[in-house]
């Protein structure tokens, strides 16, 4: 097998070049064209990654029935000891190649869309440079060979997300949202780092392949040591994997670290499509999938993944039913869908047919990336025309934005799981995997997918039907740079489901044939159609039923409307417990003890020097006198006192 993969390095480096070019020189030299330059770079990267995927999956193909893991290159960056080093490298395996295609493609669509969306913006070139930075770091994240390399790119992704959420920095709410996102994910990353340190210390390596090979072999000395040691009665292995999962949950907005995601919608809408729908927020899923062999042999941490995923899916779907800000609804829906992916990883086995959950999870990640970014871009068109995020200010837009209407409907059908759109296939696989392993989870998942259909069509009808409204916007949706991404993404949404995904991506790398079960898929489709029907009854035409329904469930509705008081809970904990009990004493110690010590030293020095400064008289003979006195004293000491 030839190893001619050096061009892979170009895929992340091209967006980086775009970032540097637009960031350093964009403002001065090519203010207008910076968007086009960044887009051109990304187009090349996209073509390269599609070529790489083609080459990887079809040209090289399987070796001994599994797809090989190729290390395109590797370079030791920091060597701590004989066994432990941080490497920089590029890994190619089915999931990283798949992610590379998704990231570059969605990023390209978002770049093209932004050409129109951000036109006339004051910081046009800065925006494109941030997008380039994000794309670079996300690509670096998925092709990391090493858990520490992944962690570095993980943080880079976090900072670019922070920069883009706070892009409109003159709005206080955007600044607060950026800060919140950064702090919450940073907090989760601390757990991630501790998990990495435990894994690195006990596994004696940071390299993914070696780590997985050592720790999934129950006879290896590292495995015996890490499972033998325990902390608070839980084995270190479980601790390490759970801590790593907390990092992933922070990035993927899983319960209870989800609070930053809805606020992150303060960023420009194309950014939400790229970062907070398609790519960055699925990094947690990617991480668990990357370490899946370890999660699979550690039952406790896999259960944690399962229940956190399931709870987040249901919880977010309930909240989404009550919100009125269209981007926030989409944000909660993202959280719910990622919950589905985590759930699928949680129920998955490892080999052959039991590995269905793993394949289904990544399949859903794949299809979700397309239809969710499509939804966000369509929402971007609407927001740009209406100048409002509020559902109440919209209605009957199907007459004015026909293309947006069509693609939005397609994406809604896809996310609801109506055949033959992409979401149907991936969601059906997830439900099947859940059905095979855990009936309770399956029930919750089925109910949640019905809810998904309900809130998505509530959104759809409220925007495009419902009340009549006056539309007077000169933007429209005529620009080619809006239509092309919308239509391309709509195409992937329609046809993406027909890819035999299990053939290419499965937990053990072998071919997984997914059968289509007609009988099984009746239930999900019925639930989806019931959700859609209910939404039609309630929201297609303006009527009093939604309000009556809300007042019938007044208490529950209020709680869901307030997002189950999670923000209030966090504020209570920080403002009432952390600040007075930890922050204030710490500040007091800092101000009085630490600063006091320093100030005391400074005062003592100042006092002493003002006392003795008279000696510095400038009179030569005084100095001679001191000198003589010194000599006499020393003589006395050496002659009479020194024994």
């Amino acid at each position: 097998m030839e190893n001619n993969y050096s061009y892979i390095a170009l895929i992340p480096l091209l967006p980086l070049a775009g970032f540097l070019l637009a960031g350093l020189f964009g403002k001065k030299y090519f203010r207008r064209s910076s968007g086009l330059i960044a887009t051109a770079f990304l187009l090349i990267a996209t073509l390269l990654s599609i070529y790489a995927a083609y080459y990887y999956f079809f040209k090289i193909g399987r070796v001994d029935g599994v797809y090989p893991v190729v290390t395109a290159f590797k370079y030791t960056w920091l060597r701590f000891s004989e066994n432990l080093s941080i490497d920089m490298g590029l890994i190619l395996d089915p999931i990283s190649v798949m992610m590379m295609v998704v990231i570059t493609f969605v990023s390209l669509m978002v770049h093209v869309f932004s050409l129109w969306y951000m036109k006339g913006e004051e910081r046009y070139s800065t925006y494109f440079s941030f997008l380039g930075l994000f794309t670079f770091s996300m690509l670096g994240l998925v092709i990391s060979t090493n858990i520490f390399q992944l962690y570095m790119f993980w943080e880079l992704v976090g900072i670019s997300s922070y920069l883009l959420i706070g892009f409109y920095y003159d709005r206080p709410s955007a600044v607060a949202a950026a800060k919140k996102a950064f702090i919450v994910t940073r907090f989760a990353d601390l757990a991630f780092l501790i998990g990495i340190l435990i894994l690195g210390f006990q596994g004696e390596t940071l390299d993914f392949a070696t780590l997985i090979q050592r720790l999934s072999d129950t006879a290896s000395p590292q495995f015996i040591r890490i499972t033998g040691a325990s902390f608070f009665g839980i084995s270190l292995f479980t601790w390490a994997l759970s801590l790593v999962f907390i990092g992933g949950a922070g990035k993927s907005a899983m319960l209870p670290l989800h609070i930053w995601l809805p606020d992150a919608m303060e960023g420009p809408t194309p950014v939400s499509a790229l970062i907070h729908a398609a790519t960055m927020v699925v990094a947690g899923v990617y991480l668990v999938a990357r370490l899946f062999p370890l999660y699979h042999i550690n039952h406790v941490s896999q259960q944690l993944v399962l229940y956190v995923g399931t709870a987040s899916a249901l919880f977010a779907a309930v909240i989404a039913c009550t919100q009125t800000d269209i981007k926030r609804i989409l944000a909660y829906s993202t959280m719910s869908q990622i919950g589905f992916m985590m759930m699928a990883l949680g129920v998955s086995g490892y080999s052959e047919y039991h590995g269905l959950g793993y394949a289904a999870s990544l399949f859903h990640l794949f299809t979700h990336a397309f239809f969710k970014s499509l939804l966000f871009l369509a929402a971007g068109v609407i927001i740009h025309n209406i100048h409002s995020n509020e559902m109440r200010n919209m209605g009957s837009l199907r007459r004015f934005l026909p293309v947006t209407h069509a693609v939005f409907l397609i994406a809604c059908l896809a996310i609801s799981g109506v055949p033959p759109f992409a979401g149907f296939f991936s969601k059906e696989e997830i439900l099947l995997a859940a059905y095979n392993s855990n009936k309770i989870v399956f029930g919750i998942a089925l109910f949640t997918s019905g809810l998904t259909a309900f809130y998505m069509f509530r959104l759809y009808f409220s925007i495009f039907w419902n009340q009549p409204m006056e539309f007077h916007s000169k933007h429209g949706e005529m620009a080619a740079s809006i239509k092309v991404p919308l239509l391309l993404l709509a195409m992937t949404t329609v046809f993406g489901g027909f890819i035999p995904f299990g053939h290419y991506i499965s937990a053990d790398g072998a071919r997984l044939d997914t059968h289509f079960h007609l009988v099984f898929s009746i239930a999900p489709v019925v639930f989806a159609l019931a959700g859609i029907l209910m939404a039609t009854l309630l929201y297609k035409n303006k009527n009093g039923r939604p309000d009556r329904l809300a007042s019938a469930f007044a208490g529950f509705y209020q709680a869901a409307w307030k997002k189950f008081y999670f923000d209030e809970l966090y504020l209570f904990i920080t403002k009432k417990i952390v600040f007075p009990l930890v922050g204030k004493p710490a500040a007091w110690i800092d101000r009085h003890v630490i600063d006091g010590l320093m100030n005391g030293i400074a005062t003592a020095t100042g006092k002493t020097s003002s006392l003795i400064k008279g000696l510095q008289s400038g009179k030569v003979q005084n100095y001679t006198l001191y000198f003589l006195a010194g000599i006499v004293t020393l003589s006395v000491i050496f002659i009479y006192l020194w024994k």
Partner: protein, 104 residues
């Protein structure tokens, strides 16, 4: 011939030393101060010679030291006079009390 006792010679050198110190403290003229320093140095020279002669007459260490000190004193005088000339150029005076800027 009666030898001069050691204590007499040491008395001379001590007297010379304290005359030098006195001159250094009381005079304000830099050239006089330089001359006082020369006196101090020469008192030390006398000490060296005297101790060499009386304690270790077979050795010459004290004499060598004296020659070194004379050589260094010559160099020191050259440097000191250069300083005095520069002081005169900047202050139009060689009185040390006129040059008191370097203080707190």
């Amino acid at each position: 011939m009666n030898e001069i006792p050691l204590s007499h010679l040491l008395f001379v050198s001590t007297a010379l030393f304290f005359i030098g110190i006195f001159g250094l403290f009381t005079r304000r003229n830099m050239i006089t101060m330089l001359m006082s320093i020369e006196l101090i140095l020469n008192s030390v020279n006398i000490n060296f010679i005297v101790f060499n002669k009386y304690l270790y007459p077979e050795k010459m260490d004290g004499i060598f030291f004296t020659i070194f000190i004379i050589a260094i004193a010559a160099a020191e005088a050259a440097v000191a006079i250069a300083i005095i000339i520069n002081l005169y150029r900047s202050h139009q005076s060689i009185d040390v009390e006129d040059a008191e800027e370097m203080r707190y």
